[in-house]
Amino acid sequence: MTDLKKDYQKILASVQKPVIGEAGKTGTWSRLKPVIDLEKCIPAKSGKFICFNCWLYCPEAVVSREIPPKINLEYCKGCGICMEECPVNAISMEEVKFE
């Protein structure tokens, strides 16, 4: 009976908890970070829920689908896909310092 209990505890211990930042702060992987120019950004300029290509193509899901779109630089790996996919070139990769 005690053995069964021990086994059950072992199974419970192997169940993993979902956490944000399993690999640490992945924002430190890259020096260059995307910065959105709000004067060019389509949703920010028009105030309408359109475009959001940056949200669509972000592999890390760090861009939010709101007006204006926000990027979570703490976990952004700086791949630059959003810069490439922005139809009006509103995103540029710049050196950003963050805490």
Partner: protein
Amino acid sequence: MNRNFSREVENNMVNVLEIVEDEYIHPGTRMCAGCAMSLIYRFALKALGPKTILTVPASCLTVLHGMQGFCTTKLSVLHTPFATTGASASGIVASLEEKGLADEICVVAFAGDGGTTDIGIQALSGAAERGTNFIYACYDNEAYMNTGVQRSGSTPLGAFTATTPGGKTRPKKNMPKILEAHGISYVATANGSYPLDLYEKFKKARDIKGTRYIHILSACPPGWGYDPKDTIRIGRLANDTGFWPLYEISNGKFALSQPSKKFLDPAKRKDIEQYLSAQKRFSNISKQDIETYRNYIRDQWNEIKRRLENQ
């Protein structure tokens, strides 16, 4: 850079705003920057929803799920040995049927190309033959990327890998065709550069009964040798050159997907050399191999045309 504003958004039925807001993967994973697979996984899970059980063999996806003690996915995931993905899915489905939850909960096997075309094909073929009620999704980055880019059955002709330093001499295995020959209810190809099309396919597959197979081309920056920012562009080139056509076969009915429809006309296809020259793994490809690619694409599309006309 892409200047075609929302090219996909205009053409597709699903709008970017219709996709659910919920994210099922927490940010801060171990995937490389610019990995198309994490984009694929993100949209696949969005389409599948919270009532899903995943079974995953050793692959890049295991790396995404993280180390012992913590994980990045909010859904239930079962990690299985390489060769048992199909069998483990059959086991999960059997236990859900026993509990009467089989209609409610969707079982999804998510494997890489090595785990599908080489090591896991036997278990997958068995599960497909048994008609197990599950979705098998294969994200195809065309080599064993997780262990340092070794050749797999899915590596295309002429590609450099750690085990084919002079370029692979055999063509890519056509996995969707093999699965189609099993007579399963749904077979589809997808591409990480078209997340809306991918989302639709997973949504559609979720509502179908029987074995469903989705083969997704996934661009890999370190393995294919290009800058991470070009991930979406490279995937689009695979579609635009006609190398990786997007189609779906539901209950024997073949249909081309929206992003690939216009490439039925050979004049609209880009030359395959654009796709090959954009990647370092094809830097030593011979002229003869490029000609083989052109013939392969021509034959592939002729067959698609024939199928569309004859049904």
